[in-house]
């Protein structure tokens, strides 16, 4: 018989963690206390449970004493849960029958002087872990098959690198690019810093290589329209825009372009030159075929002009077909990499510098195209107003970057590309006088500082001072730059005949739409959000989807290339397996309780709409069903279901209620019952402990994966059991957006708590006793301050008033809870 079924046989192990825990708490006494709890077969204390001897002891006890539940009271589960799960599974026990009590980060480290109060808290945390463990069920990791292919969105240098690496590893790659040609921003550059390599010369071969691979399908002039599925099994729908030119017949002779009567600003030339409605973006374009831009063409339906087709037919290629339609291409992949790059801020927004008003103020990208020998001026740098060669050029850095009025962040590559452009200009025009106005020069990678030195050696003048204004002499078109020169401490006005602005890099147009399509999140600045800023810069919170290059944040070429390879590597971790394992803390819907199963006319679908991962579907007349491979385990659906039909594995209502009961067993009116989300608030509380911020020991924590899981029943049960205050805390939710690991769990938590607070006030419980806060994983200080504040307010209200209010509300709470919760779980002993 499976020993995990049948009566619980619990082993509790209290770790000293050297003096980290033992210095404050009496571990021997805690173990003794644990041994008095029902169903505990053995309780031990040891110096380092995670070390070999500790683990060996656990395995020995499992085998010899037939333990079927193991508790380790030690550090945070975010630290060692995987370690001990592995340990118990090696001894033959299901790893999900293991629970941790956090008596280090949440007790010994943050309550070093609390004496008995710290001990009491440690005991409560252990009892809570034991109570939950009794109700744990063995779970099997879910295995899904893996499609051996990858989608790379974005054909810039980062996406190309990812595609090449994956192709080398033997995986099928679909490379989707929005523009007619791959190459991205790097194709627009002239030379690259710090080596002054010709950009297209080093990129071109990579572009050709990726297009010639047998296992890479290049879909240019295409966009990802829809993505369904989950890790290992994504279903992708791509729409290829009609090109009107058959790439197999087009030989890029260019006769069509010559006769086309339409001219529009050339996007590739940063608007400096013109292109025709039928065009190829640049000579080294891959794929090389021409494209007819139907938005600017004189008209296809009805046909207004057909000069290009006539020219093409005459040349013999006969490649143009006006009847082309968008192509829908569908395929399956195992992983997705997003490498869609960046755009630049519209510099005319920063009005003090006159871009868009004064002709001789230009942007860095425009200058880049001008210097480029294949650009609109054949490599000659001229003033836009009169075509003359400039004698003095002023560069202005940080236009819109590092600026609370536009973009608070630093765009990272502008210092370097300005130095590069200045060095190139000096090389082409040795007599040119160049001034660079900066706040700081950021030159922090290999060869960068040396390049900066080289620029100064060449006589390029660097002036520390952010210009306040650029004004123009309309008769000459010359500009005057007004700035302080901090070297002299005096103001200066510099007359220049050309001004170049380094404006902020911003997220690509359409980034938010793509993020929604893929169900990944963007950060506060609109760039794609990584799963962890330090340790998971390539993963997203959605399993199987990775980000790389400037889509994740502005970065230079080596960094983008490195991230492309990194993304390929992260993707290959999944693609190289026959089966991919998913953590089974998923939700599950009862066919009997779901209203859709009981009433064919039901129109509930609340769980379907709450799920940010589209993991729940409800066919008419059928109970709703969860796809366990797509479910990420937030538990929001569980809390939102009005029929209590959903449960979450490893975080069931009963398990959490049992924890609440233990935590509020003694003097509940003096306690703050805190529900903390795993990814942010619990981590923030851990950080408070790690940083040794002291706060009152009156708080008792329950961990959920997401604040969205915190059922209103939990809060009501807490007050019903006499809690002084209840705290619900999750990832940050502000006007700028949500940091929620599960995208929208915190939004639902907010609505729920605010509604509940009004209901509780109606029952007589003061609103300030239910707090909703957002604590991020980096806000240890904030967590400590929050608890100090809550404890202070708790004491100000006073135990008597709290008991009074709770007593008044109790009958109502009991009545409401009886409807939804198994009564046995909430009756006091």
């Amino acid at each position: 018989m499976d020993p995990s079924l049948g009566p619980s046989k619990i082993g509790v192990y209290v770790c000293h963690c050297g003096l980290n825990i033992a210095g404050t708490l009496d571990c021997e006494a805690l173990a003794k206390y644990a041994s008095t709890l029902p169903d505990v077969q053995v309780a031990r204390d040891y110096r380092y449970m995670c070390a070999d001897p500790g683990q060996v002891q656990i395995k020995k006890d499992i085998k010899e004493l037939g333990l079927n539940r193991v508790i380790v009271a030690a550090c945070s589960p975010r630290m060692h849960e995987p370690t001990f799960r592995k340990c118990v599974s090696e001894a033959g026990l299901n790893p999900y029958l293991f629970e941790m009590a956090n008596i280090r980060e949440h007790c010994s480290w943050c309550h070093p002087h609390a004496g008995d109060l710290a001990s009491e808290k440690a005991k409560d945390l252990i009892a809570s872990a034991v109570a939950k463990a009794r109700l744990l069920a063995p779970l099997q990791e879910i295995e899904v098959g893996v499609e051996r292919s990858a989608l790379v969105i974005g054909g810039g240098v980062s996406g190309i690198q990812a595609a090449l690496d994956l192709s080398d590893m033997g995986f099928q790659v679909y490379l989707v690019e929005r523009e007619p040609s791959i190459g991205g921003r790097m194709a627009q550059l002239d030379k690259t810093f710090p080596t002054l390599d010709c950009s297209i010369c080093i990129l071109g071969p990579l572009m050709v290589d990726v297009s010639r691979r047998n296992n890479v399908k290049l879909l240019a002039y295409s966009e990802v329209d829809r993505v369904d599925g989950y890790v290992g099994n994504f279903r992708v729908r791509v729409i290829r825009k009609p090109q009107y030119v058959d790439p197999t017949k087009c030989n890029a002779c260019g006769e069509c372009s010559k006769v086309c009567p339409v001219e529009v600003p050339n996007e590739f030339e940063a608007g400096l030159g013109w292109r025709k409605a039928i065009y190829t973006p640049f000579p080294q374009a891959v794929p090389p075929a021409y494209v007819l831009d139907d938005k600017n063409c004189l008209g296809l339906v009805p046909l207004a002009c057909s000069k290009c087709r006539e020219a093409c037919d005459k040349s013999g290629a006969q490649a143009i077909n006006y009847d082309a339609r968008p192509d829908i291409i569908e395929f399956r992949v195992g992983t997705i990499i997003v490498a869609t790059g960046y755009d630049l801020l519209d510099a005319s927004e920063v009005r003090e510098y006159g871009y868009g008003v004064y002709p001789n103020v230009m942007t860095c990208l425009e200058l880049e195209r001008m210097i480029n020998a294949a650009g609109p001026t054949g490599g000659k740098v001229i003033r836009p107003s009169d075509g003359k060669t400039p004698k003095r050029v002023a560069f202005i850095q940080c236009v819109g970057s590092r600026d609370e009025r536009w973009r608070a962040y630093c765009s990272g590559f502008c210092c370097m590309y300005t130095i590069k452009n200045a060095v190139l200009l000096k090389d082409h025009y040795p007599d040119l006088d160049i001034h660079i106005f900066y706040i700081d020069m950021r030159t922090n990678f290999k060869g960068y500082e040396e390049f900066y030195r080289r620029a100064r050696e060449l006589g390029i003048t660097f002036i520390r001072g952010k210009p306040a204004e650029v004004s123009e002499d309309p008769t000459t078109g010359n500009l005057v730059v007004f700035s302080e020169n901090q070297m002299t401490g005096r103001t200066m006005s510099l007359e220049a005949d050309l001004v170049v602005l380094s404006q902020s890099a911003v997220p690509r147009v359409g980034m938010d739409k793509l993020a929604r399509t893929l169900n990944i999140t963007t950060d506060g600045s609109g760039f794609l959000l990584e799963a962890h800023p330090k340790l998971k810069p390539i993963d997203t919170s959605t399993s199987g989807i990775f980000i790389s290059g400037s889509a994740q944040g502005p970065k230079d070429i080596p960094f983008s290339v490195a991230q492309g390879s990194a993304a390929a590597s992260r993707a290959a971790r999944i693609l190289s397996k026959d089966k991919w394992r998913i953590e089974p803390i998923v939700s599950s819907i009862s066919r009997d309780l779901c209203i859709h199963g009981r009433d064919p006319k039901a129109a509930c679908q609340i769980c379907v709409s709450r799920c940010p991962f589209q993991a729940i579907s409800a066919e008419p007349g059928q109970p709703a069903i969860v796809n366990p491979a797509k479910c990420q385990g937030c538990g929001t659906c569980v809390a939102e279901c009005p029929h209590n039909a959903i449960t979450q594995m490893h975080f069931t209502d009963e398990q959490i209620m049992s924890q609440i009961r233990e935590l509020l067993r003694s003097e509940p009116e003096k306690k703050i019952l805190a529900f903390l989300c795993n990814w942010c608030s619990y981590a923030g509380a851990d950080l408070a402990g790690t940083s040794r911020f002291e706060y009152p020991a009156s708080v008792r924590t329950v961990r959920t994966m997401c604040s969205g899981r915190v059922d209103k029943d939990f809060v009501m049960a807490g007050f019903m059991m006499g809690a002084g205050m209840v705290l619900v805390s999750g990832c940050r939710l502000t006007d700028m957006g949500s940091d929620c690991h599960y995208i929208s769990g915190n939004t639902w938590a907010k609505k729920r708590v605010e509604t509940l607070r009004r209901v509780l006030e109606g029952m007589g419980i003061s609103g300030e006793r239910l707090r909703l806060e957002w604590i991020s994983a980096a806000e240890g200080q904030k967590f400590a301050e929050l608890i100090r504040d809550m404890d202070q307010k708790l004491q100000a209200i006073g135990s008597e008033k709290i008991r009074e209010e709770n007593a008044r509300a109790k009958p109502n709470l009991e009545r409401m809870l009886r409807r939804t919760v198994i009564p046995a779980q909430i009756v006091h002993a």
Binding site: R464, K466, E484, T491
Partner: protein, 170 residues
């Protein structure tokens, strides 16, 4: 409280300080300041740095704080949204409390406190207005004005400043 202590209290108040301490000395305030172009010693960036570094005496003893024209170019351009011109006006108030106020401004302030007007109405202008059939200038409601000055703590320093025989000449 001495004026220098008031400056300290202002600059070291946690909330206020946070708004100032983000200055990264870019110099756009000085770069756009019309006074700085005329008088090189006047440098808003340096003054802000002095406040951040706690050099309050220097700020209060010099008469530079009185040169700000309140054009607010600095405030509008500051990439860290620091209200530089507002800070200077605040410092001006505190400087005045320690007697650092140009005599011209002091006299004008006294006149406002006593007559409700910053410039006296000359007899010639009265005569001319009659000749041109213009309505006479109604006298200021001194009581109302003094109540406003009272409510905004104006008399606090004019009293003290009144007791000094001269303000600083500027």
């Amino acid at each position: 409280m001495k004026a220098v202590d008031k400056v300290r209290a202002l600059a070291e108040n946690e909330n206020y300080r946070k708004k100032l301490a983000v200055c990264y000395q870019c110099g756009v305030c000085t770069g756009g300041c019309p006074v700085a172009y005329v008088k090189p010693e006047y440098n808003p960036r340096r003054m802000l740095e002095a406040i951040i570094l706690g050099q309050y005496d220097e700020i209060l003893s010099s008469d530079l704080v009185w040169l700000c024209t309140s054009c607010h170019s600095c405030l509008e351009r500051c990439p860290q949204r620091i209200e530089v011109s507002e800070l200077l006006i605040e410092l001006r108030n505190l400087a005045a409390e320690s007697g650092n106020i140009p005599s011209l401004l002091l006299e004008r302030a006294k006149r406002i406190a006593e007559t409700g007007q910053s410039t006296p109405i000359s007899r010639a202008s009265v005569v001319w207005r009659e000749k041109l059939n213009l309505a006479p200038i109604s006298p200021a409601n001194v009581e109302e004005i003094q109540r406003i000055l009272q409510a905004t703590n104006f008399p606090g320093w004019t009293e003290r400043a009144r007791n000094q025989t001269n303000g600083r000449r500027s």
